[in-house]
């Protein structure tokens, strides 16, 4: 699990069961009007969450993207035009000047929680 220090108050949103998320893949979580992509990087024993919208053509698609690594950086590739984004910083690693929001994730007793207020605004 990722540990990043944070100052803002956290609200942990209960997203789903761990077994709802495919190994090494993603699902889309509905949080009020927002869509959050949640990934289980099982090979690394890690969980990540980002905005579901790909900033390139504003498609709600990142949860359906393939995840992997570039060097040691975990990333997701948008299924539409294969732009890739760091799952940690949200930065686009395929050369574009766009960034996605990332959220902290924690797993407790088989449930997955997403930090919905304390996320990192990368803008």
């Amino acid at each position: 699990m990722q540990t990043i220090t944070h100052q803002k108050t956290q609200a942990w949103f209960e997203a789903c069961h761990t077994h709802d998320v495919p190994h090494n893949g993603g699902v889309c979580v509905k949080y009020n009007d927002q869509q959050i992509a949640l990934f289980h990087f099982a090979r690394r024993g890690e969980w990540y969450a980002t905005q579901n919208e790909c900033p390139h053509r504003k498609q709600m698609a990142l949860s359906r993207g393939m995840i992997g690594t570039s060097g040691d950086e975990p990333k997701v590739a948008c299924p539409f035009h294969k732009k890739t984004f760091s799952l940690i910083t949200g930065e686009c690693i395929s050369g574009d000047e766009c960034t996605i929001k990332t959220y902290e994730v924690k797993v407790e007793q088989g449930l997955v929680y997403i930090a919905v207020d304390g996320h990192h605004e990368n803008y």
């Binding site: 889309c28 504003k58 359906r64 393939m66 992997g68 060097g71």
Partner: protein, 833 residues
């Protein structure tokens, strides 16, 4: 030393970069004032704003970058006056700064001729993001638009109006021809024809006297008798250097505008420099970005203790219009006794090429390319670097087409100091040294290291050649490795996965690779595993390694909905099944269309509906058409001997047999086939990966044809075959292809790369030169036997069905962001934002 820069445009920003790069002593204090409310952005690619790029996408660096490099950046605060005596400047918001050196990078503004009516609503200029926002918001209201100015920018603006969906677009040019500064008369004519084919209405030799209308524009008046009606207008009649600040401060400016500079880029005050589109050097304003960057480099060098000078720059350009290639380089017009020109004018294909040579024919002075500008980069480099031309200079633009190999002239022959990327001014030497010295072995790493190829991107193919060439010259074995996680080629991996009996992506990665995979190796390995073992592709462990379309067993469409293509073997379908397709499409509100592959596509399905739709289709006897997979697509048929008066054999029955044999077969790329009943070839079999044509005595088998962007005719592999032999040969051919082709390589490309070509392939398939025939046929038969409809398995398996939801925590809900619009009694997806 304190340097103040006025203007935060493309060139002003480049100067910051160049100064920072030379500021190893950290002795600089840099202050920048920009009139715009945002930091510098990429004006050259401004039109991409209409294609969906945001202001942020166009940004060159952003506030963070400035902060990180300790540059004080004031945006939205123009400088109002300079006092050279006290070396101070005053800003609009009341700031005062002193400087040691001042640089003016104030750029230019659009020149608006004093035509009566320019103040009307619906009249725009084309220079800033704000201009484009206004145009974008106005365009949906109009039916017709016009552009005044048929130069580089005017044509770009006209194309933008077409892309914005405006039906009727006019271009009005005062001069007798389009792009008068870059293109000669003959070339201009061809260009005009091409643009008219794109739907533009061109008026040359036309002076606009008045803009008609009340509050809003309604038309343009050219003379007493001539006028056109138009609902909006973009004026692109040239640029006007922003020299007002310089002039008021007593600096020397040109009669027709521009701040006069010397070759150090100093103005009449030696402590004040001017660069970019506001600078007048040698009587000339350079309206392009590359010379501006060169000026920035000269100033950075001057201020940091070197002595690089600016001595002029050529105005070579390539137009960015999609659909029309236009380029001009060096001196495009040179005429006279000492110049020889070679012209190629093809009025049939609308291609025009002209090169100007020195009298002895040894040097290229300049030229024009219209309709086909592939050779632009090479010609530009040949011209700039004064390379000696081959004895028949016309081969440099005719050569390769006629099958003769061009002599010399490759990028590797260029001198070390040749500029490869003119946007960033990067030389061949710099690129090669990054390969040898810094270990850059891909275009991406070169881009990161040197910035080459990050501007217009035109030089990327040359960078690629340089990287491969340099690595080869170093004796480096160029491994055809899959990606950073697998050092083997696809062919090697195919054999290794088979030998080690690996069944999932993770097993393959653990055993043969390193790291945690990516979007390149995942689908490639998943495809190998599918080809080898014929197991259900969504089996746990391989599901998330599939390309997105394979993972959802449907093609994802604009907006995020999916399409559904049931298999219709050979294109034959019963009325009952047609009715079912109609009923299903109606029930789930799907757009239907007959595809180019003789079947029916239903578009616009929500991911949640996919299993429901397929459940109904399967119940009616349909199965997956694998339109989403790198797999067999369609086997088209013509009606053949059962109905056609020319038909020699029953092409429909044979097409159905072939399609049912190879359905579901996974391959490095998609495979298509067709069967025609006679040589009239109504099924287009010679455009397919394998195509079959009836003869008096049996079937002719053609292989490795391709449609798509680089069409290629299939080649005859064997003639007059009976059904069984034909199928045997296809089995061998497909297995050979599946085992040896690189990922995403169609059969045509695979054959083009094969040593020995079709003769070698024939030897392998027909004469069994590799002694593999028996094994391949057996392997193919095993795959045929293991075929199951993937969609049937999903529909029947609750665990798999569960994955077909949009929200994991609200499985019944559909994605609310998917929007459709009505069109011709059906629906279409709303356009990208």
């Amino acid at each position: 030393m304190k340097i103040v820069i006025i203007g935060n445009g493309m060139v002003g920003h480049k100067l910051c970069e160049k100064l920072i790069a030379r500021n190893s002593q950290q002795s600089l204090e840099l202050v920048v004032f920009g009139e715009d409310t945002r930091p510098a952005y990429d004006r050259v690619h401004l039109s991409e704003f209409f294609a969906g790029k945001s202001a942020r996408d166009l940004e060159l660096a952003g506030y963070d970058w400035y902060a990180e490099h300790h540059i004080k950046l004031y945006t939205g605060d123009p400088i109002r006056s300079i006092d050279p005596a006290t070396k101070t400047i005053h800003s609009h918001l009341g700031l005062t700064e002193n400087y040691d050196y001042l640089i003016l990078a104030t750029g230019s503004a659009a020149f608006v001729p004093p035509i009566p009516g320019v103040e009307k609503e619906g009249v725009f200029i084309y220079r800033t993001i704000e201009d484009l926002e206004l145009i974008r918001d106005y365009a949906p209201k109009v039916k017709s638009g016009a552009v005044i100015g048929g130069g580089l920018l005017g044509l770009e603006a006209a194309k933008a109006l077409i892309d914005l969906g405006i039906k009727e677009v006019h271009v009005v040019e005062f001069a007798p021809r389009l792009m008068p500064r870059q293109v000669d008369e003959a070339g201009s004519k061809i260009l005009q024809t091409k643009l008219e084919q794109l739907g533009l209405h061109i008026h040359t030799n036309t002076n606009t006297r008045e803009i008609l209308g009340g509050q809003n524009i309604t038309g343009l008046k050219f003379s007493d008798t001539e006028a056109i009606s138009t609902d909006m207008l973009i004026i692109s009649a040239g640029i006007k250097p922003r020299d007002e600040l310089a002039r008021h401060s007593g600096l020397a400016t040109g009669n027709r505008g521009g701040i006069i500079v010397n070759e150090k880029m100093q103005t009449s005050d030696p402590f004040i420099y001017a660069i970019g589109e506001c600078a007048l050097y040698n009587g000339m304003i350079y309206g392009l970005v590359a010379p501006g960057y060169e000026m920035a480099d000269a100033v950075a060098s001057q201020l940091m203790g070197d002595n690089k000078l600016f001595t002029g720059f050529d105005m070579s350009t390539k137009l960015k219009l999609i659909g029309v290639d236009v380029a001009s380089f060096g001196d495009p017009f040179s005429t006279g006794n000492a110049v020889r020109t070679i012209v190629l004018e093809d009025q049939h294909k609308n291609i025009y090429k002209r090169i100007n040579l020195s009298e002895d024919g040894k040097q290229l002075l300049g030229g024009i390319l219209i309709g086909e500008a592939d050779q632009y980069n090479m010609l530009l480099q040949t011209c700039k670097n004064k390379l000696v031309l081959p004895p028949d200079p016309e081969t440099i633009f005719l050569g390769e087409k006629n099958g003769t190999v061009r002599q010399g002239g490759g990028v590797l022959d260029l001198p070390a100091e040749a500029i490869i990327c003119s946007c960033e001014g990067i030389t061949k030497d710099t690129i090669c040294c990054s390969v040898t010295g810094q270990g850059c072995e891909s275009v991406d790493t070169i881009k990161k290291m040197t910035k080459a190829g990050t501007g217009c991107g035109g030089c990327v193919p040359m960078i690629k050649d340089l990287v491969t060439g340099t690595m080869k010259a170093q004796g480096k074995y160029l491994r055809n490795s899959l990606c950073e996680h697998f050092s083997q080629s696809r062919q090697e991996l195919f054999d290794l996965i088979k030998i080690h009996d690996l069944k999932t992506y993770d097993e393959a990665l653990d055993k043969l690779g390193a790291g945690h995979g990516c979007e390149v190796c995942k689908p490639a390995i998943a495809s190998i595993i599918a080809s080898l073992w014929g197991e259900m592709i969504l089996k746990k462990g391989n599901d998330t390694a599939q390309d997105s379309n394979d993972r959802f067993l449907a093609n994802i469409q604009k907006g995020g909905s999916y399409s559904i293509v049931p298999r219709i073997p050979g294109g034959e379908i019963t009325p009952e099944k047609l009715i079912v397709i109609g009923q299903v499409a109606k029930k789930y509100n799907l757009y239907t269309k007959i595809t180019g592959g003789q079947r029916i596509d239903m578009f616009g399905a929500h991911v949640t509906d996919l299993p429901l739709i397929w459940e109904e289709l399967i119940a009616a006897g349909f199965e997956s058409g694998h339109a989403y997979g790198k797999a067999l697509r369609t086997v088209k048929s013509c009606v053949g001997s059962t109905w056609c008066r020319f038909g020699l054999h029953d092409s429909v029955s044979f097409a159905i047999r072939i399609e049912e044999r190879y359905r579901g077969l996974r391959a490095p790329h998609k495979i298509k086939s067709a069967v025609s009943g006679c040589i009239r070839e109504c099924a287009e079999a010679q455009g397919k990966d394998f195509g079959i044509i009836a003869t008096e005595k049996g079937w002719n088998l053609f292989v490795c044809g391709n449609g798509g962007s680089k069409p290629q005719h299939a080649l005859l592999l064997a003639s007059d075959l009976d059904d069984e032999t034909c199928i045997k040969y296809i089995d061998r051919f497909l297995m050979f292809y599946i085992k040896t082709a690189d990922p995403l390589t169609r059969t045509a490309t695979w054959l083009n790369k094969m040593d020995g070509g079709i003769d070698y392939l024939r030897n392998v398939v027909v004469n069994d030169s590799l002694h593999m025939a028996e094994q391949w046929e057996a392997e193919m038969q095993a795959l045929v036997n293991s075929y199951k409809c993937e969609w049937k398995e999903v529909v029947e398996n609750p665990e798999l069905r569960k994955r077909f939801t949009h929200f994991v925590n609200a499985p019944e809900e559909k994605d609310p962001t998917i929007k459709f619009e009505p069109m011709r009694d059906q629906k279409k997806v709303a356009d990208w934002k």
